[in-house]
């Protein structure tokens, strides 16, 4: 079984090389697929969004050897590599880069790294999640490899056939990639959920290989320096994958009032979201923004308070299973997407909800 897999991988490498020699993929029927997933790690484990990319890679085709590339500096990346090696049965190899250059995920060294790994590995596909990491890095890497990437994919219909949203999700575009390998894409993690079942304890642990960066040429990488970052440590669930999201709009009128949203979120065990308007007005920090230019979420329950429902906001939450809207204005566009709408004053509704909602389990 392992020998067969190895032979397939070797064939994949050979065919990938020959396709780059002839600068056009030349097989018609069964194209051998091998995918490189650019993984994000934190605190010694792999971010759930990167596992969505693995789930998406799986859907490219049956015989697909999936390798995860991790880069960082020191023990945490090594720990993440060990985690990656056994966290998902579809990951057949983990490639680790351990160097100070990768202490922070900067686009410039990462794109160069992907270029290097692709030259060595000849993958048919390179994938990342459409997170700020993936969005920042993958297109730059694609330019170095002279291919057009397909970003924010929500559906994979074939190894070269993808569906992605355009016009803030008001239209869906099916795109066929007709170029040479690698086919590069970023995927929306909300469209490729990771099943909660833990990996079979008897599943193979994937081999981990360390990359030799001696040929990297540090001086040739252009200069971009990480200075700092601000973030809000919170006990609340992560907005990107929370089961329930409670969002406030500008109608909350102040950062102080936004605490009501937070209290409600607390009661429901939910994440807090906000519209761009609320962020720009200074009520909440930017990482809470849900929308076309913020986070895309698809929770079981999305509750929007004082949100008008502008196209740009809807783009970020229209795939939620159940949408609840509370707004004083009965004509607010949000009511056109809400499953349950309540026309009322949020300053009265929220306290009533706080009083009457059952305690979260």
């Amino acid at each position: 079984m392992a020998a067969q897999a190895l032979r397939r991988k070797t064939l994949a490498n050979l065919s990938a090389h020959s396709s780059s020699l002839f600068s056009k993929s030349s097989f018609s029927l069964q194209r051998l697929i091998s995918t490189l997933v650019l993984g994000e790690h934190e605190g010694g484990s792999i971010k759930v969004q990167s596992l969505s990319a693995v789930a998406a890679a799986k859907s490219l085709g049956e015989d697909n050897s999936i390798s995860m590339l991790l880069a960082g500096s020191g023990p945490s990346v090594q720990e993440a590599a060990r985690y990656a090696a056994s966290c998902h049965p579809s990951i057949s190899q983990v490639i680790v880069v351990d160097s100070d250059t990768f202490m922070y995920p900067l686009a410039e060294p990462w794109a160069k790294l992907v270029h290097l790994i692709q030259q060595k590995g000849g993958y048919s596909h390179i994938m990342a999640t459409s997170s700020s990491f993936g969005k920042n890095i993958l297109p730059r890497a694609a330019a170095l490899l002279d291919v057009s990437p397909i970003t924010d994919v929500i559906e994979i219909s074939g190894p070269q056939l993808f569906v992605r949203p355009i016009y803030a999700g008001n239209a869906l575009c099916t795109v066929r990639y007709t170029g040479a390998e690698p086919c590069m894409l970023t995927i929306r993690s909300t469209s490729f959920p990771v099943p909660l079942t833990s990996a079979n304890s008897k599943s193979d642990v994937a081999p981990i290989s360390q990359v030799d960066l001696s040929t990297f040429g540090e001086d040739k990488v252009c200069k971009s320096k990480y200075v700092n970052h601000t973030s809000q440590d919170s006990e609340r669930p992560d907005l990107s994958n929370a089961r329930i999201v409670v969002t406030g709009g500008r109608a909350l009128k102040s950062a102080e009032n936004f605490k009501m949203i937070e209290k409600l979120a607390e009661k429901l065990g939910a994440a807090v979201g906000a519209t761009r308007a609320a962020v720009d007005a200074g009520f909440v920090p930017n990482e809470l923004q849900v929308g076309q230019t913020g986070k895309i979420v698809a929770p079981e329950l999305y509750m929007a308070f004082g949100v008008s429902g502008a196209i740009q906001h809807l783009a970020g939450m229209r795939d939620s299973k159940v949408i609840v809207a509370v707004n004083k204005d009965a004509d607010a566009p949000i009511f056109q997407v809400a499953d349950y709408g309540l026309v009322g004053d949020l300053f009265e509704v929220i306290p009533e909800l706080l009083e009457k909602l059952p305690e979260k389990k």
Partner: protein
Amino acid sequence: MKIMVAIKRVVDYAVKIRVKSDKSGVETSNVKMSMNPFCEIGLEEALRIKESGLASEVIAVSMGPSQCVDTLRTGLAMGADRAIHVESSATLYPLSVAKLLKALVDVEKPGLLILGKQAIDDDCNQTGQMVAGLLNWPQGTFASKVVLDKEKEVATVEREVDGGLETLCLDIPAVITLMGEDVSLRFYTSLKQSTDLRLNQPRYATLPNIMKAKSKVIKKFTPQELNVDIKSDLEVVQVTEPPKRKAGVIVSSVDDLIDKLKNEAHVI
């Protein structure tokens, strides 16, 4: 130092788009077109940097069919010093746009190349990153704040990332792509205080500036003149509407809402 700003002509953000019945695309004929809102913010930022004395010239560039000239004239009316139009009727995917931009950068040699973070039509969010890769310049994407230090030849960029705000220090020349405020806020200017705008409020072109813009130069190039081969490795198979949500109901009270969420939707 010159600043080059890439601007794109797109369907106006307020237009409710329609998908063509033959599924070949979105209806764009007889539809209002405007400068992409993020590109407007990019141009505004470039103009402010010039007005603060840190840049000598702002050049607006756009690629596409002849109507791009309208968008460039708007950019000139806002205050750009000159404009460049790369004329092409072919579909230009981000990789081609990036290659064209690189060719223009090689000609003009700006210290900063500014783009909007994404175009609101294709929502790709790729071009800035790609041209930065082709130029081997550092990139500051999704920037909400840019501070230039000409002496040290660096740009300090505050970026919006998933976890919050990240600050990077980039050597110049660099590529920066900009975030912006919710465009619908334009209508609520009375509620905004100019001191805490997230990035900027693009200026409206005044009539005198619109008149002045008529005599500003728009230089034309073709992709062939720039030695760029427009590669086509993507093919649009179809464009469709997203699945429609089932119509919802208006509930009459909080009690009713809680009941529905619990017993009908089973989400709490």
